[in-house]
């Protein structure tokens, strides 16, 4: 034991001053934390950031053998509820499908993963931006209002061929898409 502490007098002007400063700094720290939380919340609500809704696992070694990421099942699928689902994979050094086609004014669900290392999935000119991590299924939801043709560069260094890895996204008119979808179950715009 170190004996009684020196009594701190509330009337000591030095101590009172220190207390005031300490209180102010504490308030500043709390305000900064609250500001950051509000900022994250606003970004989340307006979809500036898209955290993964849920965690789904997949075996990256057997993507090509079975499951929803076999090559014939990749591309855009029309769902019974009118939305479309795009399944894609990233691998050294291309996206499959190389060209993704989706309709305008439709809810588009992206489901994508990686067959080897971490890749990036980003559609130029939109706020769609996520990582493709082997073992995990990345999901994102979007709605495109105008027909555009966009690029999808891999934005995570994935190996020495990384700079050659990109895909295309074509948003086409809904009516034109429906015509395409009439006789094909998985659509791509790979020629």
């Amino acid at each position: 034991m170190t004996g009684d502490p020196p009594p701190s007098s509330p009337h000591d002007p030095g101590a009172e001053h220190a207390l005031r400063i300490e209180r102010r700094w504490a308030s500043v720290a709390v305000l900064i934390v609250i500001f950051l939380i509000v900022m994250a919340a606003v970004a989340g609500v307006h979809q500036a950031t898209m955290p993964q809704l849920k965690l789904e696992l997949v075996d990256p070694r057997t993507l090509h053998v079975s499951g929803e990421f076999i090559e014939s099942n990749l591309g855009t699928a029309v769902e019974p509820d009118g939305s479309v689902t795009v399944r894609a994979i990233g691998q050294q050094y291309s996206f499959v499908p190389q060209c993704i086609v989706v309709p305008t004014d439709t809810v588009v669900h992206f489901r994508a993963t990686s067959g080897d290392v971490v890749h990036g999935f980003l559609i130029d000119g939109t706020n769609l931006n996520t990582m493709l991590i082997p073992g995990f299924i990345s999901t994102a939801t979007a709605r495109f209002s105008t027909p555009i043709e966009s690029h999808m560069p891999c934005h995570e260094y994935c190996g020495v061929g990384h700079e050659g890895m990109w895909g295309k996204v074509k948003v086409i008119d809904k009516a034109a898409f429906e015509k395409l979808a009439a006789d094909r179950r998985r659509l791509t715009c790979v020629d």
Partner: protein, 266 residues
């Protein structure tokens, strides 16, 4: 001055206040992140607080099972590569492979060096030889010559053959300065057309498991394979990795790559 020995005790009001504030912020932030925010995302449905917490905290969920899977109208490769799957193939495996390889010598050469524009197998990666044998057997890769030869091979036979050819000395990369600089497609690819450099997977820059060693391979063979990938008659590459590359290659690039890799020491 406050008492230093009592600073981290519940008796200190600063300590009490800061713990309370920190806990309060954590609780509010967790409520915002786990419960309030997730339903704002399209496609999300609020299914109770506990479920929201589990989802946001990253508890693995099963993939939706209702979705139908469209299967290919053609055979694709069933080979699954796992790290180290060909490590530890001993001398016995190599010996058995050498015996089995007697039936391969007609086209692939007595020591794995072809005289007939068939691929050289000497020094080829075990993963490559094994995968192609498996694909010929399953029909994922078609060849009127190869298919009858692999019908009777067991999985172990194919591993032994792979071990044997892996053991043979590989033809060295031979690219003398007099041959000029290597073609663009080999060392840089064509980034504007989604073509990585050949050397990024086939050695030179890096090697991707399952990609063959190409140096010294006959030019007609390389050219024929690139064209088969390009026009979709060969489809045993895992998840279209070669079809995607070859699809965008020009005939000149195919020629240049085939010529470059076929170079052998005199």
């Amino acid at each position: 001055m406050s008492d230093e020995t009592a600073a981290l005790s519940p008796r200190d009001k600063w300590f009490r206040a800061s713990v309370a504030i920190t806990a309060g912020i954590a609780i509010v932030a967790a409520a915002v992140g786990f419960i309030w925010l997730p339903p704002f995302q399209a496609g999300a449905r609020f299914q109770g607080v506990w479920n929201a917490i589990c989802q946001a905290a990253g508890l693995a969920q099963p993939a939706p099972t209702a979705a139908e899977v469209v299967t290919a109208g053609y055979k694709t490769t069933g080979v699954v590569f796992t790290p180290g799957m060909f490590q530890g193939a001993g001398a016995e495996s190599v010996g058995r492979g050498a015996t089995l390889a007697l039936r391969c010598t007609m086209c692939h050469g007595a020591r794995g060096m072809s005289q007939a524009n068939s691929p050289n197998l000497a020094g080829q990666y075990a993963a490559v030889v094994y995968k192609e044998l498996r694909d010929y057997k399953s029909g994922a890769r078609t060849s009127a010559i190869m298919q009858p030869l692999v019908v009777g091979l067991s999985d172990q036979d194919m591993r032994d053959l792979a071990a044997y050819y892996d053991y043979l000395p590989r033809p060295p990369a031979y690219h003398p300065a007099s041959a000029g600089p290597p073609p663009e497609i080999v060392v840089s690819g064509a980034t504007m057309r989604n073509i990585p450099p050949c050397a990024a997977c086939h050695g030179g820059l890096d090697n991707k498991t399952g990609s063959p060693w190409l140096d010294g391979q006959p030019a007609p063979y390389i050219k024929a394979q690139l064209e088969a990938f390009k026009n979709g008659t060969r489809r045993n590459d895992i998840s279209e990795q070669m079809r995607n590359v070859a699809r965008n290659m020009t005939p000149d690039e195919i020629d240049a790559a085939a010529r470059y890799y076929s170079s052998q020491p005199p």
